[in-house]
Amino acid sequence: MKSLRRIATAVAVAGLVALCATAAALGSRSSSVTISVASLIPGSTQAAIDQFNSQVAQFEKANPGITVKPVEYNWTGPTFAAKLAARTLPTVFEVPFTDARSLGDNGQLANLTPYAKALPYFSEFNPAVIAEGTDAKGQVVALPKGAYAQALHYNRQLFSEAGLNPNKPPTTWAQVRKDAKIITEKTGKAGYVEMAKDDNTAGWILTTVVYSLGGRMETGTGTSAKATLDNKYTIQALNMLKAMRWTDNSMGSNFSYSWGDINQAFAAGTVGMYVSGSDIYTNLVQAYNVNPAIYGIAPIPLAKNKTAGVLGGGTLAAVRPDASKAQIAAAVKWMSFFYEEPQISKTQAIRNAQTLVANKQPVGVPALPLFNKHLYDISQTWIKPYINVPIAQMKPFLTGIFSENLIPEPEASTQSVYHALDAVVEGVLTNKDTNVVQMLQQATSEAQQAISSGA
């Protein structure tokens, strides 16, 4: 009988121990969380990957309960839509300024409000920037990664070879045309090229040029906005493009550049000038190992009228709508560590710059402030010793950009408006006899249809 009791006691003790062990295991499991995060674009250099992994290691050390899995990521309209529908996006991913609000309104992004508002610097965000990541209900659905102003990027080497002064880039569109023609004649390379692929990039660049001339692509907001694609400035921009393509023949022979292709062509030294975001130097280094000596950046030439301005945009970081509360909390911590703190915390800014420099990555790429100009200037002094980009060659851009009239992208159905314009740009570049006005009218009708349906 005694032995039976002993056995029963032993079983009970063993059971209790097992129960405690299980509880402890469960407890430790519940306190740890794994998130996947957008890292670099596919094809990035090993140095860039090492740099990112160092950041992950630093974050995991500072946050022991969080495991971060980097996932290669490159935002393009079609792949993003497919991944969104298939629910294969990483926990933290990036979206352009144009999309975050609508995605939030559609319930396709997680609500970050309580975690975002708990960040000590939340109130310091530039109101215009944080508004891009706030949905119609006032919920914060994305935090800013970076903001850019469209800029004119030019190849200093080709400028020199063509007998042009690389320190004096063109300041008017007429000069752009003239310089492009000279570059082509003297070097045989394309003087000026544009993204002209049917992936919304052609429309994005055309809108940039139209803004710089004084035009707008729409008036009003939301589904009641009116598409104004066929305004006189768009016609002017397209006629200028037509002249460079068919009269001057200064645009080379490739008229289907996408965002990545055009960067690659520029880094390869086959392009004189092109328009893209001011922060493009990072991609030129990370993906295409551009020779820093050839790189030059200037503000977009602006027409002399009150409405002319520079198109500004940016990227936000968001979280999958099906993420758990623990994952959202961890994701916001990562977003704060990776995207925001390097711009507002001295320690983090210096640590970030040191990691970048150690891995031969660019520090000091021109960007617009996420917080305010004062904080931006302070942050630049923190990282000054580490700046390794050819800052002197960026002077034409940096001296003028902060005083320019910055205009956000078209608010209603932005990507659909760009998509409608894609075909017009392609038409001008691939058919000498394209009827610009007729094509613009059709594009306006398509854009209006998209705006009215909220697409």
Partner: protein
């Protein structure tokens, strides 16, 4: 006469068998091997059900809904079909698809036949020619398109333009021109797909009775007359099948316009399948899956009706 005799005999046999077989109970069904039949059938049913039938049913359901696949779907009746019908890009896509199909029919359909007839005439090293003809088929399509993109470089230093430059032609814009883009796609598509049809024709040609050629030779027929009067009539069944397969294939062309031009320049190569893709994935805010599935169904129904009419119209000719 023989046919008339055969038919009643079959019917009689069938009747007598039915009258003799007793009604099956579940036990006799199991004993008769019904369960094992079902077991063998189960994987097939599962695979078809999960990967063919379920997606078809889901497509029909989604064509009547508005959904972004994240939030709950809402029923919209035939609104998606109406929206597709009134989309200004719909007639453009249909016209381009017909243009591609027409060009592919004119150039892509006779070339494999001519190649197969010529290869069947070759006495030595036929295997090498077959392998060479089939080689493009085994090259992954994406690789082939990237290769041809390189060939189609519109500058004067592009591969094709350099070769044509030797005979003082070009440079041609290839994919960078609204007029040249579609023929360029057809050229690559013919190169990429002809091999498979050549192999089918070569196999069919082995079935042509040699006595017929000998008889034609005795009658004084040359090579062209032999092909016209002996080879083609003997291959007509195969020719009709490959024709309908080509029409269905070209109506669903996607890979070439997607990888070469993304439907451009200025929608010059936008095909129906690419339009479906654009509906589903063209907008980064989430696709219009309702419109995409509606157009998919419209295409499927059109092809099914077309195939039925085609098979009915050519039935007598193919079995003559």
């Amino acid at each position: 006469m023989l046919d008339q005799l055969r038919e009643p005999a079959f019917t009689k046999r069938g009747l007598s068998r039915t009258s003799r077989v007793p009604r099956r109970s579940p036990i006799t069904w199991v004993r008769g091997g019904g369960l094992s039949t079902l077991l063998f059938l189960a994987p097939l049913l599962f695979v078809f059900g999960a990967f063919s039938w379920y997606p078809i049913v889901r497509t029909v359901v989604m064509s009547l809904q508005h959904t972004n696949l994240v939030q709950p779907a809402t029923w919209v009746g035939f609104a998606n079909f109406k929206a597709v019908w009134h989309d200004p890009l719909f007639p453009v896509a249909v016209k381009n698809t017909l243009y591609f199909a027409g060009l592919a029919l004119v150039f892509g359909y006779p070339i494999p036949l001519i190649a197969a007839v010529l290869m069947s005439e070759v006495r030595k090293r036929r295997g090498i020619y077959s392998a060479l003809a089939y080689l493009p088929v085994v090259i992954p399509p994406v690789v082939a398109v990237l290769l041809w993109k390189f060939f189609y470089d519109a500058s004067s230093t592009g591969v094709f333009n350099t070769v044509l430059g030797w005979i003082h032609l070009g440079p041609y814009p290839w994919l960078q021109s609204q007029q040249w883009a579609m023929p360029s796609l057809v050229l690559e598509s013919t190169w990429a797909n002809a091999g498979a049809t050549v192999i089918i024709y070569l196999a069919a040609l082995t079935g042509v009775q040699t006595e017929l050629y000998e008889a034609a030779s005795v009658d004084g027929a040359g090579i062209l007359r032999k092909v016209w009067h002996v080879t083609l009539p003997q291959l007509r069944g195969i020719l009709l099948v490959t024709l309908i397969l080509q029409i269905i294939g070209t109506a669903q062309v996607f890979l070439e316009p997607y990888l070469f031009t993304s439907g451009g320049p200025a929608n010059a190569t936008l095909t129906v399948l690419l339009l479906i893709y654009n509906y589903a994935f063209g907008n980064s805010l989430g696709g219009d899956y309702g419109k995409a599935t509606a157009l998919s169904l419209m295409l499927a129904v059109f092809l099914a009706i077309f195939s039925l009419i085609y098979l009915r119209a050519t039935r007598s000719w193919s079995t003559r």
